[in-house]
């Protein structure tokens, strides 16, 4: 969705800006801690010669100096703000505001020495700057930065960082950073020449304990001339990581599958009522979903206009509105068209298809043929990590929502009076009628319920799909397949059907690609229906047999 993309991009920009601000704020800080500062006069002198070899040597020395000023000097060099005076051999930092500070002490310098020049930088020096700032970050005051630096070292496996790592490890107190540093150190040791086998195998064990892609890359870097014992240990660790990664990958696919399954469940569950329970081949079902999505759009527009503060609650407000609106449309359709067609299942298909065309065109006329923007409330955006799984709040809420709708529908059918009457009419219409149940009214209510549920689904689907007049068309085939696959007339079948199709789809995708996976799934369902024409959970009683 455009709006969410935009929001995310805006967020990114904000984050970046924030980062820059903090970076700028931290720059002058070394000035505060000058008391027990280690002596960095030697590297400063080297910088003042402005020879590349000297500059590189100075960077190496600075990065392990432990001086609080080192980070500021390296950063200034990177930005071309590190100045020296060829005459006085003084090294100064030009602040972003244009002032000058002394590189060693951080004290402002009131009067600039004459002939001030920037220390020159070439590609070799840039690489050295990167290495130095990485090493310096290892001892940064901010634990998050130290952690990131440790990970960066682990990925680069730069042997030169080893002394800095050792120094940082000795000082580190944060447990997470410490383990990241240990890992980075182990990563370097694995590939480093001349490390004793025992130490190397210990390193392999350390890295192997971290079951991710980075660890895998590290373990694959064991030199070809390593001893068999080391190689064996590495291979064992690699196999272990690959196994665990494979399991996580399956887990991630299952998660995507459950997420897709919930979408399918939402799309299909209303159809499980109108088609599964009533036997109406409701081709307008998709349009009920579409109407629900447009109700969401209208509700959001109204909130934006009259009370923007309520925006985060817009979906919650849209749910009952969509249910009532599409439910009402459903009742009208049932009373004017469907009720004349009971017992002629295939003709309900034609009539409802006609209705779907009319509804699509009506929406197109009112709202235009293009996509309308439905925004995401703040609680639907973002993501978190669970082990190696990445879980977005949007997906999570849709799964939760699908389950809530399912349970609510089940409860309605099982526990309420109208649910009881619906089941009675389904099982034996004449008997129900003779017991005083108004079967006409129950028919209308049942169709209204199915349509209303479809409308609710539309509220949720407006968050993940384009809200356009064609929205419903993309769900109708899948919905029918889910209901038929699960077993007509059985809500649990619809749940299991939706989940199995969703998960199967996502499991097939890595091997076959999205389109071929979908095709394969369609073929599988077609073959399955040959095998079990009544679906997974065949129900006895009133069958949808045409």
């Amino acid at each position: 969705m455009i709006s969410r993309g935009l929001l995310r991009r805006l967020g990114g920009v904000l984050f970046l800006a924030l980062g820059l601000l903090t970076a700028a704020a931290t720059l002058p800080r070394p000035a505060l801690a000058q008391g027990a500062a280690p002596d960095i006069s030697a590297p400063l002198a080297q910088l003042a010669t402005d020879k590349y070899d000297d500059t590189e040597a100075a960077l190496g020395a600075l990065s392990v100096s432990g001086s609080p000023a080192a980070a500021g000097i390296v950063a200034a060099l990177a930005d071309g703000r590190l100045m020296y005076s060829p005459a006085t051999k003084q090294v100064l930092i030009k602040t972003p505001e244009g002032g000058l500070t002394d590189a060693a002490t951080g004290q402002p310098v009131a009067e600039a020495p004459p002939g001030l020049k920037a220390v020159r930088v070439n590609n070799r020096i840039r690489r050295a700057i990167e290495a130095a700032s990485g090493t310096l970050a290892l001892v940064d005051a901010d634990p998050a930065k130290r952690l990131a630096a440790a990970s960066a070292v682990m990925r680069s496996r730069d042997e030169a960082a080893l002394p800095a790592l050792d120094a940082a490890l000795a000082k580190e107190s944060d447990a997470r950073v410490k383990s990241a540093l240990t890992l980075a150190r182990a990563s370097i040791l694995i590939g480093k020449a001349g490390v004793p086998d025992a130490e190397r195998i210990a390193a392999i064990a350390t890295v192997g304990g971290e079951g991710n892609q980075d660890a895998l890359a590290v373990l694959r870097s064991v030199p070809a001339d390593a001893s068999p014992a080391v190689k064996q240990a590495a291979q064992g660790a690699i196999a272990g990581i690959e196994r665990s990664l494979a399991i996580w990958a399956v887990g991630q696919n299952v998660w995507y599958g459950v997420s897709l399954g919930s979408v399918l469940l939402l799309a299909a569950i209303g159809l499980a009522i109108t088609f599964g329970v009533m036997g109406v081949i409701n081709m307008a079902h998709g349009e009920m979903v579409m109407l629900g999505a447009y109700v969401t759009f209208v509700v959001q527009e109204a909130i934006r206009t009259y009370n923007p503060a309520l925006f985060d609650a817009s979906l919650l407000i849209a749910i009952p509105v969509a249910f009532l609106f599409t439910g009402l449309i459903g009742v009208v359709i049932e009373r004017t068209v469907i009720r004349f067609l009971y017992g002629r299942a295939l003709e309900t298909l034609l009539a409802t298809w006609g209705i779907s065309l009319i509804l699509q065109q009506a929406i197109r006329t009112m709202f235009g043929p293009t996509n309308r923007e439905v925004g995401a409330p703040s609680w639907m955006s973002g993501a978190f990590e669970l082990g190696q799984l990445s879980i977005t709040y949007g997906r999570l809420w849709i799964i939760v929502f699908a389950m809530l709708v399912f349970v609510a529908l089940l409860a309605t059918l099982r526990l309420t009076r109208i649910g009881l009457e619906m089941r009675a009419v389904t099982q034996n219409r004449r008997m129900a009628a003779s017991m005083g149940i108004r079967t006409n009214w129950v028919d209308a209510m049942t169709f209204g319920l199915g349509s209303g549920i479809a409308g609710i689904a539309g509220v949720a689907l407006s968050q993940i799909d384009n809200v356009s007049p064609n929205l419903g068309q993309s769900y109708i085939i899948d919905s029918f397949l889910v209901v038929v696959f699960g077993g007509v007339g059985n809500l649990w079948g619809t749940l299991v059907g939706a989940m199995s199709l969703g998960i199967a789809n996502k499991m097939l995708e890595p091997y076959a690609g999205a389109v071929l996976g979908k095709i394969a799934l369609l073929v599988i369902v077609i073959l399955f229906i040959q095998k079990r024409p009544r679906g997974l959970f065949a129900l006895k009683g009133r069958a949808i047999e045409a």
């Binding site: 298909l349 298809w353 006609g354 065109q361 009506a362 389109v515 369609l522 077609i526 040959q530 045409a546």
Partner: protein, 382 residues
């Protein structure tokens, strides 16, 4: 249908009228195109000839659907797939005829393959430079798909709604497949920019007239074939299957084989319709596989009257004429309202369709002596 005296009549009065109209059009339309001056009120411009030719291929397609829906009770929501396959077979022939005249000038590879950087013609494109082979494929591609699909479906007794839904899934799967560039059928854009057919310029007026005449002949022959089939003993078994499949099995007939034969014949007819359609409209793309197209065919048949054959053809022409008429003018935004309303109105008020209702009225009027070799009354298959 056998009435008071057994009638071995193949066509009956309405059948003869129908054939007369179709064949008359085959003569008259080209005549009015060629023999009248463009200013004359009677002149039929070439674009109208092609438009009418398109309607006729739709009529043949509707006929093929009526054969299985009206007489066997199989509501196929995937018949557009057979039409499209026939169309693609013809389109592949037409692509190969372009030869080095394509934009990229490759003597063998169609433009889209050059564009995709393919070096060699895929194996399934071989032979399509020969018209007889392509013509065979027009029949075999839909026929074999129908054979395999039907063999599985009918043997395991998938019927009614379930069958309808899996036929829809079938055409949907094909839609997705043909959209893929890797499939080698031109992906999204399909096959187009045809130059000539059997050496004749496909844009030339003469070619267009011949294609129109061929479509009319195909429709006439298709009608006679369907009519022959449904009036044979075989056809009586089909109708019996539609009304009481179990009884048919207990009478010793293999219902699945009867359905399969009808389904395959129907698919091949649809394929022929597709093959005649493509050169007249000049393009075939995956959109023809879309489930909505297949459902629309059902409406043509329902409007005309299912189980009447003539009605199917009539419905196809009427609905498509209305579509052309309304989608081109001021009323264009309302076309879908009208089409949708038509679906609803026909199912509610005209369940037997135009021709079915006419037959009913005629039979009631002449109930003492049911005339004609009229058809068995179409009964809902449910």
């Amino acid at each position: 249908m056998s009435t008071l005296t057994p009638q071995p009549v193949l066509l009956g009065r309405s059948g003869l009228v129908f054939l007369g109209v179709v064949l008359g059009a085959a003569v008259l339309v080209p005549l009015l195109n060629l023999a009248t001056s463009p200013d004359s009120a009677l002149h039929v411009p070439t674009y109208v000839v092609s438009l009418l030719g398109k309607y006729l291929t739709y009529a043949l397609l509707a006929l093929s659907v009526d054969l299985i829906w009206g007489y066997v009770g199989i509501l196929s929501l995937g018949h557009g797939a057979f039409f499209a396959l026939g169309g693609y077979a013809m389109g592949m022939y037409l692509m190969r005829q372009i030869g080095p005249r394509g934009v990229y000038g490759d003597p063998v590879l169609p433009d889209f393959m050059v564009f995709l950087n393919w070096k060699e013609l895929p194996w399934f494109w071989h032979g399509f430079d020969l018209f007889p082979f392509a013509a065979l494929m027009v029949l075999l591609a839909p026929g074999i798909l129908a054979l395999v699909f039907g063999w599985f479906a009918f043997r395991s007794r998938v019927t009614g709604v379930y069958l309808s839904i899996i036929t829809q899934a079938m055409t949907f799967a094909l839609l997705l497949a043909f959209f893929r560039n890797d499939m080698g059928f031109g992906g999204n854009n399909g096959l187009t920019d045809f130059k000539d057919i059997l050496g004749f310029n496909i844009q030339a007026d003469g070619t267009r007239l011949v294609l129109f005449v061929l479509s009319a002949l195909a429709l006439a022959l298709g009608y006679v074939l369907c009519r022959f089939l449904v009036r044979s003993h075989f056809g009586k078994v089909l109708i019996a299957i539609r009304d009481a499949e179990t009884r048919v099995r207990f009478t010793g007939y293999r219902a699945e084989n009867y359905k399969l034969v009808a389904f395959v014949v129907s698919a091949m007819l649809a394929g022929i319709a597709g093959a005649l359609y493509v050169p007249q409209v000049g393009i075939i793309n995956p959109g023809e596989f879309s489930p909505a197209n297949s459902i629309e065919i059902i409406v043509w048949v329902a409007v005309g009257g299912r189980g009447t054959l003539i009605g199917a053809a009539l419905g196809a022409v009427l609905v498509n004429y209305a579509k052309t008429y309304f989608t081109s003018g001021l009323l264009a935004p309302y076309w879908l309202f009208m089409l949708g309303g038509l679906f609803v109105a026909v199912t509610l008020f005209l369940p037997k369709g135009i021709v079915g209702t006419f037959y009913e009225w005629r039979d009631r009027r002449a109930s003492a002596t049911p005339a004609d070799g009229g058809l068995p009354e179409p009964k809902p298959a449910e």
